[in-house]
Symmetry: C2
Subunit: 313 residues, 2 copies
Amino acid sequence: MKRKDNWKKAFAPASIGNLTVGFDIIGMAIEQPGDIVHACFNNQKCVRVLSISGDGGKLPLPAHENTAGVAVLKLLEKLNTEQGIDLKIEKKMPLGSGMGSSAASAVAAVVAANALFENPLPKSELIDCTLAAEATAVGTAHGDNVFPSLLGGIVLIHTYNPLRIIQLPVPENLQYVLVHPHLELLTAYARSVVPKQVDLATAIAQNAHTATFVHALHTQDYNLLQQSMFDTLAEPHRKQFIPGYELIQKAALAKGAINCGISGAGPSMYALGKPTTNMQKIGEAIQAVWQRKGIGSEMYLGKVNTQGAHLLD
Amino acid sequence: MKRKDNWKKAFAPASIGNLTVGFDIIGMAIEQPGDIVHACFNNQKCVRVLSISGDGGKLPLPAHENTAGVAVLKLLEKLNTEQGIDLKIEKKMPLGSGMGSSAASAVAAVVAANALFENPLPKSELIDCTLAAEATAVGTAHGDNVFPSLLGGIVLIHTYNPLRIIQLPVPENLQYVLVHPHLELLTAYARSVVPKQVDLATAIAQNAHTATFVHALHTQDYNLLQQSMFDTLAEPHRKQFIPGYELIQKAALAKGAINCGISGAGPSMYALGKPTTNMQKIGEAIQAVWQRKGIGSEMYLGKVNTQGAHLLD
């Protein structure tokens, strides 16, 4: 089969789940890092993950256990085909980091595989494939990483049944910095510490913050972004797992950050900044706090990724 | 004193608290009905409510027990004056109706009294006077009626400490109909049935609806308004007090309403409609349900009041 040599290669960005103010319902795609997945037809009538780089050998190769594999299996089911596909995964970001690592691999895989068939499905129809994959990776089908990674920008998940997703406006040249400490935190565990019951007053406060945040995005009002980016539901319970949490927030805000919070379920912390803010300085201030505690870290910075996942050359 | 004869007269609109999707944080001013309050200096160094019409004798005359009186007392305190003021209140809407009746009287009173002093305070500084009055009337200082009545439009209360209020965009020619059944419901009682603890999932669902609603207002997307105007916090517990609640919703939606929900704490029900929707027909459909249960009602319809309280001639 001639087409067997025809590899397609897709990039899918990391993402900041929750974005502080939208616990479980908002996520934002970032320029870097992101995973790359290569896909190619095989003649085995099955999905195979041939190789994974950058994961330190931690991710499973069997397709039905691998987030990229599950996403592609779901795509093939949807396309009603017995065609087999081989995948090669380049992990470009740490696992268990709160950066939507599993989501990025699933999204890149499904975009590459869809391209092999000459894109029969628009992105809006790839959504459920990636959601199924996320359920495999983190135990629950949450979309606050897969949807931003696939579609780009800041995504609001309105409802799951039916699945309704809204792309919120992104203030021009909004910047981020994300710092990943060399600590691993399991998403399932970080989820488990969030109480299943909340005070009515807490729920209402979160509601007011989220509503104000959406208004701030529409009006590109950075002051209002700053005033609204708080989380009353999860972050108060998760911050105990982030060494130096308060110091980090204080340091980031002192350097001009709009906000500073936990990325996804952590342990990475991120901050947003205006177009003119020096994000490098904010990232260094965050790193310095961890450094003093003997914790190494990597920094990523840039703008919001508004394109989402896409094919490479 | 010559100026004793110089009465100022202000109108303040009724309002739809909660607006379904924003329990305790959103309210909307409507064109009609609304209360009228007359204010005039006296030489008694005190605030007196000289008369109240339209209340069936139910409202208290002593100024410190009357919502309009309290608002004016607060204004005088703020202006640091011992000047006395007389008030005459024309109630143009039913009490305990879920239409922000007490709020409208307080707002009209403070606007009229402020005018007596030649408007030393902008509306933004009258806000706390009206909030104090609302606390007298309903036991808690909730602003989802007083703020829309004072400022007009659709108002989001972001935080109380500090007090931060946002005027959300109003889709052009958005219409409403409000039907008040001849039943009285005490706000304090209607509040008491709302559970003080909520499931995390319920809180998140409300959050997603409210965020989507704000986006829908900004994009003037009526479909999204329809999909987002739900309440998971209060309405499921309050609907038991509204005879025919489900039938009313069904009837209103069948006639083309965007939504149909409880106004404030009830028992009034309201519906929103697009610029071309026949709101009269929707109102009649709601009235017909109550009629069949032997409950009389009044209907009010029009557009959103975007002006807020204002002086009359």
